[in-house]
């Protein structure tokens, strides 16, 4: 299929390609068209597949030359980071897009992703988004004007429909007020949906809530929370205890956060007086989450927890030794983790059994210890 501008040129040879392209996107703007219509316009006007990727808003659109939406099978473009790479990408985009798109980049282009094939003609939309045409070589006038107009309109539409919270894109915090709404179970569904969008989250997409020991909260796309907890684009550094909630649609963030907060109470400082995992996934401790609901600040400790506290006070090695016992599969592995001789471990366990009052060499006894340790954390971390 010939591209639309060629067919239009035949209809009206007087008007230049640039004028037709400008008219096309002006009309889309006036009618409040969405991002898909813009990318589709870029494709049909040039006769080449076109795409847009927005890393901060988690948006990917790709259409073929006839405007049919196609899954984006191209590789995920990585944001470029180094200053030299920025300058190169910037210059490259300018060179490829031709004069029409040359004004668009500037500093805003510093972190815009590059298309899967760097040779494709492309233009930055904003700091985290790029529009491309799947076409290499020298840009025709129509390509340059389409890239420039489509990128400018896409930027305006994205800013209007999916505003990013202040600081997103740097290593900033998520907006507290928006998070309050998103994670408030009493907030209307619509309000949560709007808050999700304003935070750059897909309201229907999977997210995980993260509760931190200092009381702060994050809601991140599930894959970020799972795979890249240290990724610099989001602010969770896990330098403190954290509970991670289950993956849920963004509008159901309150349920993920509730689970994350209980999981947080099962986390430990990872010190001799509070051994254990600093980060706890709610999905990995579902039965213990039920237990968490039964223990609050005023709940008196059961006798096993009192015994555990007495034992902890009796010897500095007590809690780390008991944690090693319940977190490894064999006594030998526990000894290795503690860097002590196996016989030393046996002596310590004999001492612990006397102080606790139950056998630590049976599965039932170890299970009883495990629960007592979990309850002890819940008491320590009760609010």
């Amino acid at each position: 299929m010939r591209d639309l501008t060629v067919r239009l040129a035949a209809l009206d040879p007087e008007a230049g390609a640039a004028l037709r392209v400008v008219s096309y996107f002006d009309e889309l703007a006036a009618a409040h068209a969405g991002v898909h219509a813009i990318v589709r316009g870029a494709a049909v006007l040039t006769g080449h597949p076109a795409g847009l990727v927005d890393t901060r808003r988690h948006l990917r659109v790709r259409v073929d030359a006839e405007g049919t939406t196609r899954p984006d099978t191209t590789a995920h473009p990585a944001p470029s980071t180094g200053a030299d790479a920025d300058a190169d990408a910037d210059a490259e985009a300018k060179a490829k897009a031709g004069r029409g798109a040359a004004e668009a980049p500037g500093p805003a282009a510093a972190c815009a992703p590059t298309p899967a094939d760097p040779a494709w003609l492309s233009a930055p939309v904003d700091q985290g988004a790029t529009l491309w045409l799947e076409r290499t070589g020298t840009a025709r006038v129509v390509d340059a004007v389409v890239l420039e107009r489509a990128a400018a309109l896409a930027r305006a539409v994205l800013e209007r429909t999916r505003p990013l919270p202040r600081g997103t894109g740097a290593a900033g915090e998520q907006d507290g007020a928006l998070l309050d709404v998103l994670t408030d179970p009493a907030a209307p569904l619509d309000a949560r949906r709007r808050a999700a969008r304003a935070l750059g989250l897909d309201p229907a997409g999977p997210v995980r809530a993260i509760a931190l020991a200092d009381g702060r909260v994050h809601v991140l796309p599930a894959h970020q929370a799972e795979e890249h907890p240290e990724h610099p684009v989001h602010p969770v550094s896990f330098t403190q205890r954290a509970g991670i909630g289950p993956a849920v649609p963004a509008v159901e963030a309150p349920t993920s956060l509730a689970a994350a907060r209980r999981a947080l109470r099962l986390s430990a400082e990872g010190t001799p007086t509070d051994p254990g995992a600093r980060t706890v996934h709610a999905e990995h401790v579902q039965a213990l989450l039920l237990l968490a609901e039964t223990v609050s600040a005023g709940t008196p400790p059961i006798a096993d927890v009192a015994a555990l506290d007495r034992a902890a006070a009796a010897a500095p090695w007590m809690l780390t030794t008991l944690h090693a016992l319940v977190s490894t599969s064999t006594g030998r592995a526990a000894a290795t983790q503690l860097a002590i001789h196996h016989s030393t471990l046996q002596e310590r366990l004999a001492s612990a059994e006397r102080l606790l009052g139950w056998n630590l060499h049976t599965p039932a006894g170890q299970h009883r210890l495990h629960l007592a340790m979990a309850l002890r954390r819940l008491h320590r971390n009760s609010t």
Binding site: L4, T5, V6, R7, L8, A9, A10, L11, D12, P13, A15, R20, V21, S23, Y24, F25, D26, E27, L28, A30, A31, H32, A33, H36, A37, R40, G41, A43, V44, L45, E66, G67, T68
Partner: protein
């Protein structure tokens, strides 16, 4: 209110609220769909088509050239022929373009290896009537979409080249269409088509002619049609519905253009009580006993109200009709903005209806 009626015509919406003959007011024009509007703007818009523009239109729109024989074969999927068949009594012969599925082009399971004429393996057929406001076009116009359906469903396409107005006024054009249909049904064996599975189809003026041919086939006990596929059909010579008034000369085929087309076909009889239902199917007093209808139209075009009314009247008469009104389209939106979301859905809906109709 003004008392000087000389300057006040029913076409002056500024003076008073617009009222259709039925008395329902029409508001401001329905806004166009964003992508349809963008394509229209990029085309530079359409002038109101007055009779003096008919010769210009007949030169064809550059960029909308008719398909060549090679295009029509679809890489060997169709065998393409032009043939001349008897026309209406006393009139010249009628040219038919036939595109018949070849074995290579047939979907699995529909390939015919039996002798032509075996109705068990003969293909269904689309009898296509091109558009062009009754005044322009030929039998290659719009065939591309009919071939899309045919390729998907293993159908033949027969496209009729009827004489045009104003040189040939009513009933010449519609009688040409009917004569071609009758010949096709009577020569189904020779064409390798199943006479029980012929769907008449057309867009715009072609949609109106298809609706008229369905009425004639009913009244004259002619071919038993399987269905009528009416794409934003032009069916009411009165051109005064609320949508006609409301949309005025916006879009592509505006109210002035529609006046031009109907005047060419009907001359001074237009708008009078004498207009035949075979010229303007909206005039039919009886819409019972018709084959199942598919009707689509856009919300922002002249033909909206007459086409919606036609579907409603088929239902009221106890008939079968499927109606789609695509929001924000102008006349021919699917042709001029083929990539737009509403255009894709409109094409898909037509194909789905044909699937249900012919594969049931």
């Amino acid at each position: 209110m003004t008392t000087t009626s000389t300057t006040s015509t029913p076409r002056s919406p500024e003076d008073e609220p617009i009222h259709s003959p039925a008395g329902s007011p029409a508001g401001p024009p329905v806004p166009f769909d964003p992508e349809a509007a963008a394509a229209l703007a990029a085309m530079g818009g359409f002038p109101p088509i007055t009779p003096d523009l008919i010769p210009v239109l007949r030169q064809g729109l550059p960029g909308q050239e008719p398909p060549t024989d090679a295009d029509l074969t679809r890489d060997g999927a169709f065998e393409v022929e032009e043939r001349t068949v008897p026309g209406p009594a006393g009139a010249p012969e009628v040219r038919l373009l036939t595109c018949r599925p070849t074995r290579a082009g047939s979907p699995a399971g529909t390939t015919s290896s039996a002798p032509a004429g075996d109705s068990r393996t003969a293909s269904g057929a689309v009898y296509w009537i091109h558009g062009g406001g009754m005044i322009v076009g030929d039998n290659r116009g719009g065939v591309d979409e009919a071939l899309d359906w045919a390729q998907e469903l293993g159908l033949a396409v027969i496209s009729v080249d009827y004489r045009l107005a104003p040189e040939t006024p009513h009933p010449g054009p519609v009688e040409d269409c009917y004569a071609g249909l009758v010949w096709s049904a009577e020569h189904a064996g020779e064409l390798g088509i199943d006479p029980q599975r012929i769907v008449v189809a057309g867009a715009s003026a072609g949609g109106g002619l298809a609706a008229a041919v369905a009425l004639m086939a009913r009244d004259r006990r002619g071919p038993a049609l399987a269905g009528q596929l009416l794409i934003y059909p032009m069916i009411d010579d009165r051109n005064d519905s609320p949508s006609a008034v409301q949309m005025a000369d916006s879009g592509t085929w505006g109210r002035t253009a529609n006046d031009t087309g109907w005047n060419a076909l009907l001359g001074s009889a237009r708008g009078s009580a004498d207009v035949s239902a075979y010229a303007a199917p909206a005039r039919a007093s009886d819409l019972s006993g018709l084959p199942p209808a598919f009707i689509d139209v856009a919300s922002a075009e002249n033909f909206r109200d007459e086409d919606v009314a036609y579907a409603s009247r088929i239902w009221q008469a106890g008939g079968i009709a499927e109606l789609h009104v695509w929001p924000g389209g102008f006349h021919g939106f699917d042709v001029f903005a083929p990539h737009a979301g509403i255009s894709r859905e409109a094409r898909a809906a037509r194909l789905r209806w044909l699937h249900r109709l012919l594969e049931a």
